[in-house]
């Protein structure tokens, strides 16, 4: 295929796009980016947006942790503190984690993995990015217009009565919801209609299964969030009693609406990361993924069960005992598909040939962190223990282990795994691994002590606390600094590689799925001829080639490079 072309021969008579032109340099100028219909460029813009949001949210986090170094006031007063944790949470969830893997990485990789030229609706894709930008602008406006102090959960009646920028932020959430729905819709149609010849549902890479399950949740659950937000806006603006008891509404109803979206949304955050890890573990262990079907089904199962368990956020809200018991029982059902995946990943590593690339290190960190995140969910799903733990730092620790520890580490794994494909450059693996170690240690130092804080009696969203908790808070803050520095190091390593990195081969790690079959970075249209898809996990189908420093398909190895392109032509 095109990728094997000997690039040392500049006068080779292959069509120019095979060697030089790729999606990054085929046109230039800001308009060629801003109005592009190329899914890869849109994905890159998302990635940049998500990264900026991550560092903004991260800055808030570091300031919050600094304030918590002492039970006394250090940096800011309670009002600022409350606004800051709200914006930290809202930015991280709505602007970073929800769009992170699906919209940024998914956009870049999904069509290439399918051997397609683009997503089904490129214009809608660009539209969803603009909506994201627009929504993000509303968030920034909310910060400027007097902040927001409701917590990312917007619980009523507090959110009806506080005089901060609730309406602005909710409109932002509403717009972001549309962005999310459009992306989901696009992915579903793309996966249904644009799979290449030979790619049956059960030959689809697991990352695509994960994106598919995610997209289902996005289009089914997000409208509920949109409507809830609108109802709240209506209530605030026109004093119509929906959620505020002072106006004749029901505050617990809001919680039902909110969690009906937000519980499934946590799976929007974790499922794509699980998909990434399935790819990363298989490729970097050079093994066929174990139990393919179980992993695929478990994604769908998580997506489905995810809709039935929202009430577990409300065990102490005053809902009836019967309801609480039912929700608890169903909640446990979500833990099983997650457990299945973990065991499958481990078995995939068995007898493999494991390379500790940066991507793999993040993959392994994911397994460690996700196990803690998932297992601590069991304490919260169990009624007797949740009553004590609800709304404490134990919950904070749990959801950071799954949301930030797992989803974000999954995003990091994805970025490193596909970085050569996306940018055409190899980054420095040593610096990458050092950053990964820092993220891993920093993360655990930040959040592990919080489990203890929670069980010992520290409620969440507290600006000051009893003196006895200071030691653990200080540990946690130190972890946050390490985490922040390591993320910066990671970003620096990657950005440096764009300027100074070695040129990446088409297939640096030896993956067998289609995105590795086109050059790095891919040409504007990804593939000139629809590639023929086989089992995406037969790692033996590619072998290492010293000359290129990457992997090439077995049948192309050695003798005649010309046949490579020729055979590509024949398949068409």
């Amino acid at each position: 295929m095109a990728t094997v072309v000997d690039s040392s021969d500049p006068k080779s008579n292959f069509p120019i796009q095979y060697r030089e032109l790729n999606y990054l340099n085929c046109s230039s100028g800001w308009k060629s980016w801003f109005f592009t219909l190329d899914h890869k460029r849109i994905g890159i813009m998302y990635l940049i947006g998500v990264t900026c949001s991550f560092f903004l949210g991260g800055l808030f986090a570091v300031l919050l942790r600094t304030e918590l170094l002492s039970p006394k006031q250090l940096l800011m007063g309670p009002d600022t503190y409350n606004q800051m944790f709200t914006l930290h949470g809202a930015i991280m969830t709505f602007l970073v984690i929800i769009p992170g893997v699906p919209a940024a990485i998914g956009n870049i990789i999904l069509p290439v993995m399918l051997g397609a030229k683009d997503v089904a609706f490129p214009r809608m894709n660009l539209g969803s990015f603009f909506l994201w930008l627009f929504g993000a602008a509303f968030f920034l406006a909310a910060i400027a217009l007097g902040g927001l102090d409701t917590g990312w959960t917007f619980y009523t009646p507090y959110s009806v009565t506080t005089n901060t920028a609730v309406i602005t932020a909710l409109l932002g959430v509403f717009i972001l919801g549309f962005s999310s729905i459009f992306t989901g819709l696009n992915f579903i149609v793309t996966i249904h209609t644009m799979r290449p010849p030979g790619m049956t549902w059960f030959k689809m890479p697991l990352f695509l299964w994960a994106l598919y399950a995610t997209a289902l949740i996005q289009i089914l659950a997000t409208p509920v969030l949109g409507i809830t937000g609108l109802l709240l806006v209506v209530e605030r603006a026109f004093h119509i009693g929906i959620f505020d008891p002072a106006l004749g509404g029901d505050p617990v109803l809001f919680q039902h609406f909110f969690w009906f979206y937000s519980h499934p949304a946590v799976y929007v955050m974790i499922l794509p990361a699980m998909g990434v890890v399935s790819e990363v573990i298989a490729v970097h262990s050079r093994k066929h993924i174990f139990g393919y079907r179980f992993i695929a089904y478990s994604s769908i199962a998580i997506a489905m069960f995810g809709f039935l368990v929202w009430g577990h956020h409300m065990f102490v809200s005053g809902q009836s005992r019967v309801v609480a018991v039912i929700f608890s029982a169903i909640t446990f059902s979500v833990s099983i598909p997650s457990a299945i995946k973990v065991f499958n990943w481990l078995t995939t590593m068995y007898k493999g040939s494991i390379r500790f690339t940066t991507a793999m290190c993040y993959g392994l960190a994911f397994i460690f962190i996700f196990s803690i995140g998932g297992l601590t969910g069991l304490f919260l799903a169990t009624l007797a223990t949740d009553v004590h733990l609800h709304d404490t730092y134990f919950v904070v620790a749990h959801f950071h282990y799954v949301m930030m520890g797992s989803s974000l580490v999954g995003l990091f794994a994805a970025v490193h795994h596909w970085w050569p494909k996306i940018t055409g450059k190899m980054f420095n693996e040593n610096w990458g691994r050092i950053a990964c170690l820092g993220v891993f240690l920093g993360f655990n130092l930040t959040f592990f002590p919080q489990f203890l804080l929670g069980t010992r009696g520290m409620p969440r969203r507290y600006y000051t606390y009893l003196d006895q908790f200071q030691g653990l808070h200080v540990m946690s803050s130190c972890g946050a600094y390490l985490l922040g520095l390591s993320s910066a190091l990671m970003a620096a390593t990657l950005i440096y590689s764009i300027y100074r990195g070695k040129k990446a081969p088409a297939n640096p790690w030896g993956g067998a799925s289609l995105e590795w079959m086109c050059s790095s970075p891919p040409p504007h249209n990804n593939f000139d001829h629809p590639p023929l898809a086989g089992d995406p996990y037969v790692m033996e189908s590619v072998v290492y080639n010293e000359e290129i420093g990457g992997y090439v398909p077995v049948e192309c190895q050695g003798d005649n490079k010309q046949t490579v392109t020729a055979s590509g032509d024949n398949e068409a």
């Binding site: 009646p157 446990f332 390379r355 196990s371 069991l378 609800h390 009696g457 507290y462 000051t464 030691g471």
Partner: protein, 322 residues
């Protein structure tokens, strides 16, 4: 245990994980916790040691390729689906039984009403006495019937392992039977705005019912055992006036009490009023009737919560703030 864990890690009056168990449900809650903890630790150690083992044993060596193994094994996969399922059923069950106990107030309970508002707790005893700390007798079932004046709060006593939201517009209940005398932190666990983290008070558990009754008797006899100014100060602190009215002359959400009595106040409607006993009384009972210029009409009414005698004491107290 204490010997090996540096001070930073150990909790002053308790074990490593929890504050000392001080109610009848605590023991069950903790034992469920530890049961889950052991199961989880087992699986976590299993997962991580397999991972590390594979990392070491199957790390890439030049020239050695991965060994092809079967990509699928139904027995294995069913077993790691079924065994965790069975374990979670057990977890659900033990959690469920304990929860039903926590949520079923015994019929022979001592009843205390709780009113939560930003950012104070008010505990009202059967004789009508209101106090900002919760006092209860040891070894007796106590039921709290709770309501909120503004937003959602949540009453949590970590030492008792119970928690319940306090929701405006409805009553919720929480009960416990304390098993240890002493003082324990009681806090708000649901975010409720600016001073959420300061909505912390304590539960005082009295050794016997006799002690408790004696305490209640004395406490509620405030007009007898305190001067009016002292009694007024007491109401000022316990009924939430302190949240909005300072004594140092700096206005907070409401005017400061310093030098207030006898002053001329400009009202929002443009008129003026001289601060006297009648004006103060009206401001306490009908706060929205005459609002001082520059302040929002946010003060709640205390009608029905303070007796005439209480109000007189408050007025005496305000008068004393020269």
């Amino acid at each position: 245990m204490k010997l090996f864990i540096p001070n930073m890690l150990a909790n002053a009056d308790a074990g490593f994980w929890f504050p000392e168990q001080s109610s009848t449900v605590a023991e069950h809650s903790d034992s469920v916790y530890f049961f889950i903890l052991y199961v989880c630790t087992f699986f976590f150690v299993l997962i991580v040691s397999l991972m590390v083992l594979f990392m070491v044993k199957y790390r890439h060596r030049p020239g050695v390729e991965a060994t092809k193994t079967s990509t699928h094994n139904l027995t294995l996969e069913l077993s790691w689906s079924v065994i965790p399922t069975l374990l979670t059923i057990v977890m659900f069950w033990v959690g469920f039984t304990g929860y039903i106990d926590m949520r079923t107030p015994p019929s022979d309970s001592y009843e205390i009403n709780v009113i939560a508002k930003k950012w104070v707790w008010a505990f009202q005893y059967p004789n009508g006495w209101i106090e900002s700390e919760l006092h209860i007798p040891k070894d007796e079932n106590v039921t709290l019937t709770m309501s909120s004046d503004d937003v959602i709060h949540s009453l949590w006593v970590p030492a008792f392992r119970t928690k319940m939201d306090v929701v405006p517009g409805r009553y919720t209940q929480e009960w416990f039977k304390a098993t240890r005398a002493g003082e324990f932190p009681l806090m708000c666990a649901e975010y409720c705005g600016q001073k959420h983290s300061m909505m912390v008070t304590k539960v005082v558990v009295h050794e016997t019912r006799g002690d408790f009754d004696k305490w209640l008797q004395q406490a509620s006899d405030i007009h007898k055992n305190k001067t009016p100014v002292e009694a007024g100060e007491y109401f000022y602190k316990t009924r939430g006036c302190v949240q909005c009215h300072s004594l140092d002359g700096v206005p907070k959400n409401g005017p400061s009490f310093k030098g207030l009595f006898g002053k001329e106040e400009k009202l929002a409607d443009g008129s003026t009023v001289k601060v006297d006993a009648n004006y103060l009384r009206e401001s306490i009972l009908e706060p929205q009737a005459q609002v001082v210029l520059g302040f929002k009409p946010i003060m709640p009414t205390f009608k029905g919560q303070l007796t005439d005698q209480d109000i007189s004491a408050l007025i005496a107290f305000i008068k004393a703030q020269k």
